[in-house]
Symmetry: C3
């Protein structure tokens, strides 16, 4: 794919070679994200960071990624502060606001809204999440994390074993990650969830059609065994009709130190898209694993900055110009990391 | 008028020569707004973008304009996050916050509040809208758009015919635009509205006293004929006591492709301050005109950035220094516009 | 103390020599805050300005201080837009968001929350207020103001007389300022409050143990006499169970021009942490003193920018590099101050 000026709306846009490009550029962003160097590659550029649904993490991650490339960030954080409440169409919002910035990141609760916005936009748009539909930069950062974590152990994505655990019917991240994994070969998926929250049948079918092995189970303990990666998810309370309905499932599948030691491999990577629900009744990923070296959840969010920097750099055509406008970091960073 | 350090509170401050200055400076901003060049004229300066009422469009437009001149933007987006709820006076808010920035843009629901703030401010203040009262940068961008659109057809503001349509009693933009047009000669105004939403009598009287011709009518079809510009407005639901009361008028005067073709001139410019209400029951400006070359509504918002850059540059005394600190754009912009 | 990479969580961290360092660096920030020079000392650095409770003044003050040092600012302004509502722990929030920025300023309604956040953070954290607990930069700016105001009259902190007036039980600022004044010698405190809103006994005991003289009284007129500084506070309505309960005390101790002239010394400095409650029923510090040369309340907020610049510069190790990356201000600033 040609990244120059492209919208990033769905993981389905990506060929395996495209993913490789994103990951190679992301690797090159490390010195900047870790404050070993600064760059001004996007000096003078403006990001329109348009969030029509709460999301501190994703919003700030994109904003920081843009700042780290030297650009300005303008933001919208709440649909209530928007003309959309006065009957404005997404078409109008897109025509107008795309005139203000050089690239837009948009999150919106409605499925398809970001694509609709992009169709009318005059600048590239990155989907920062449209309801239960897509959130491509999350899938890319998840896959990037898996690749890096496996590599440190001389393993690779082709042929790996991955368990996905929890609310697999609503979990946008496991859907998108599965989509991306269609590009790879010979993976074993163990899908652990309550029967009512199983991975959608079309996704399972796609995985099988791509030659992957898929096992679906409600037996957490059996399912956890023999995996390179365990990807846990939160019960997506906000996608249920009532909190009560969500409560039925909350806390049913948990990973903690004891379970990990007993059932997982010694080098099984632990992932979670975050936020994890740390309330006592949930705790799908227990805090007693916080110091575990295989807990990759905070490396995931760090990798998110790298991947988002890569997407901005590719879309805006500066992936090869990062070093040209680079310089020294002038402040104290020793305490960092 | 001397723009250096001046507050911009009302269109009534402007002489015709002042308007000419703003427009000439705005013309010079085009290469920067279109990302053909970047400038650092306001490097190190801080805009205090203080919005005590929802307004994505205006807020982001001012913020981008400041970023495009190289400055930083600090924002307040909601009165609930403000000390005003703890009984703080506007005087105190002004004394304090004007110490933080180099120029303030302020929107506030209360008529006169921005002038009250400016009286206590230690830095220049631009009125970004004070209730139903004033929003001078909107009037300037409207007039700037009219001028540019007419010019591309060898017409000019003096002597033009303009129709204003819709909620003329509450529409702040048509009031302010009318005020600015007092500075010009021999204009014909056709004011099309329900009898209950007519343009305030004092404004009509002022227009007539300035030598303009004013026709008031409820007959949309007759009124549309023989105009250089048609300026449509939304029913300002938020200024009515109830939504029901607003509903009486919503959708009563509409412009669409069929009506335009039948009643307007082939080169009649179509304007709207936006947001337009695209809900089916409203549609004062139909989406079937979205591709029409004379639809100037998105050029209006683009011009808004130019006009706001011009105001900042004039107030902060850098209008002649833009090119001095200019440089090349380093990123991909080909998809743009 | 070693400021490099340090968290600033409490005034109790500071020795007198540390305070001196902060104040000396703050003095050096004046040309930058007053727009006589610009600096890029923190070029490329990112502040995570995380406010989980409304606070325009403090949030913007920190943000501007960071911008004035050349850095970027990313913000969170509302707990509702946060993953915390999905059950995320402060530990996770800290691990994740500290990966985005170079320093974090955090305000949170819960006592101790900022320290908890800092314990998990990978970058330095400044406490911007944790409930009724601590707000160290406010105490530092108050003390810095006292020092500067006294100095202009050849007085000093050691040996001064200070009256604190109003809601001394809930007023976080008077608690923190008292803590800092433990580092000085021979001060006379006159604590004027309703009996129910007296300064906590442990603080009074600490002041006495440090050799200071403390007088507690409900008699405003007597208490106001013979002071170098009068520090007034607002009734902290939000810390009472009901508005009605707060109303009992509101407006009971007021300072106005007549009272000042009658009871205060001619050079008594008037301070208030702001916001002051200017509603008629409160008016603890009357607007008829707004032009009084001894009214230091707006100099306090200006000093807040200097002190916060100093803290950032010290923590990030650029206190000695400000001038190295300094340059000329390119825009019009004559109207300022």
């Amino acid at each position: 794919m040609d990244f120059h000026g492209a919208h990033i709306l769905s993981v389905k846009q990506f060929e395996r070679a495209d993913v490789d490009v994103v990951f190679r550029v992301a690797d090159g962003m490390e010195p900047y994200a870790q404050r070993k160097r600064i760059t001004k590659a996007l000096d003078g550029a403006i990001l329109g960071n348009m969030f029509f649904e709460p999301s501190t993490r994703t919003r700030v991650s994109f904003g920081c990624a843009f700042n780290l490339l030297g650009g300005h960030v303008r933001e919208t954080t709440d649909i209530k502060t928007s003309s959309l409440t006065k009957g404005e169409s997404l078409y109008d919002t897109a025509r107008v606001t795309s005139g203000y910035s050089d690239v837009v990141v948009m999150r919106h609760p409605k499925v398809g809204s970001v694509a609709e916005f992009a169709a009318a936009s005059r600048v590239p748009v990155i989907n920062g999440g449209d309801g239960s539909n897509e959130h491509p930069s999350q899938a890319l950062l998840d896959l990037y994390t898996i690749k890096k974590e496996l590599k440190s152990n001389d393993r690779e994505i082709d042929g790996m074993h991955i368990a996905m655990v929890g609310d697999l019917v609503h979990g946008r991240t496991v859907h998108s990650l599965s989509q991306l994994l269609l590009l790879y070969n010979n993976i074993t998926f163990t899908l652990i969830s309550p029967a009512e929250l199983r991975m959608p049948a079309e996704i399972v079918a796609e995985l099988k059609a791509a030659g992957h092995r898929v096992v679906e189970t409600e037996d957490m303990e059996a399912g956890l065994q023999d995996n390179d990666t365990v990807y846990l998810t939160r019960i997506q309370e906000e996608r249920f009709t009532t909190k009560l309905e969500a409560d039925i499932y909350r806390g049913r599948f948990r990973l903690n130190q004891a379970i990990y030691t007993r059932y997982c491999q010694p080098n099984t990577i632990i992932m979670h898209p975050l936020p994890r629900d740390s309330r006592k009744e949930a705790s799908e990923l227990d805090n007693d694993l916080n110091q575990h070296p295989n807990l990759a959840i905070f490396r995931q969010t760090d990798n998110g900055v790298l991947v988002r920097m890569a997407l901005f750099a590719l879309i805006l055509g500066v992936a090869d110009k990062i070093e040209q406008s680079a310089g020294e970091v002038g402040w104290y960073t020793e305490g960092r990391f």
